[in-house]
């Protein structure tokens, strides 16, 4: 199962966080990525503040089962050519794949946790609302 991939133009601005852009055939693609995004109202950085022990990073994600039923597949390449004129991509991120060509197995796992910290001024806010 091999095909010839001909790409005239491929333009990708950013390929980040364990992502792949592949032109041509491949066998196995296995990607894994973990991200902890902390946004604060005030600038404060401490790389040891959060251990990467949140349940989202450890819990197993149940994957859809692969059907192991034996399929007798015959693939006939009448024209073994994949012709692409142009592809324009702004961003590929967090274990994603852009693949031009044939592949066998693709496995990707992405785990993202967002934390936003704002200043605790809810009481003040409630008081000002009451005065309205």
């Amino acid at each position: 199962m091999s095909r010839l991939s001909v790409v005239h133009l491929l333009r990708a601005n950013a390929v980040v966080f364990s992502s792949v852009v592949q032109v041509g055939d491949s066998q196995h693609i296995r990607l894994s990525g973990r991200a902890l995004a902390v946004q604060r109202q005030f600038e404060y950085v401490d790389s040891n503040e959060f251990p990467l022990a949140f349940p989202i990073f450890t819990k197993p994600i149940p994957l859809s089962p692969v059907d192991h039923e034996h399929v007798c597949r015959h693939t006939l390449h009448d024209c073994p050519l994949i012709a692409v004129h142009s592809i324009r991509i702004i961003g590929v991120s967090s274990t994603s794949v852009v693949h031009i060509g044939s592949t066998k197995n693709v496995e990707a796992e992405s785990r993202v946790k967002h934390i936003r910290q704002l200043t605790e001024r809810r009481e003040q806010h409630a008081r000002s609302r009451r005065s309205d």
Partner: protein
């Protein structure tokens, strides 16, 4: 089960993509198995109303005056 696949000419003109993110796949071609999983967690703390909306309220109060 028997299956026959005949690949004829595959030709793509132009594709414009904004973003491919969080265990996603754009495939021009064929594959046997694809398993993609993505988990995203954002805590309820993200809903705290901070001082930024309060500033907007102050502006409204000033306008009233």
């Amino acid at each position: 089960m028997n299956m026959t696949v005949v690949n004829h000419h595959l030709s793509v003109g132009h594709i414009a993509i904004g973003g491919v993110a969080s265990a996603s796949l754009v495939l021009i071609g064929d594959s046997e198995t694809i398993q993609l999983a993505s988990a995203f967690d954002t805590p309820p703390e993200s809903l705290i109303i901070g001082p930024f909306p309060q500033k907007q309220n102050n502006k409204k109060n000033e306008e009233k005056r």
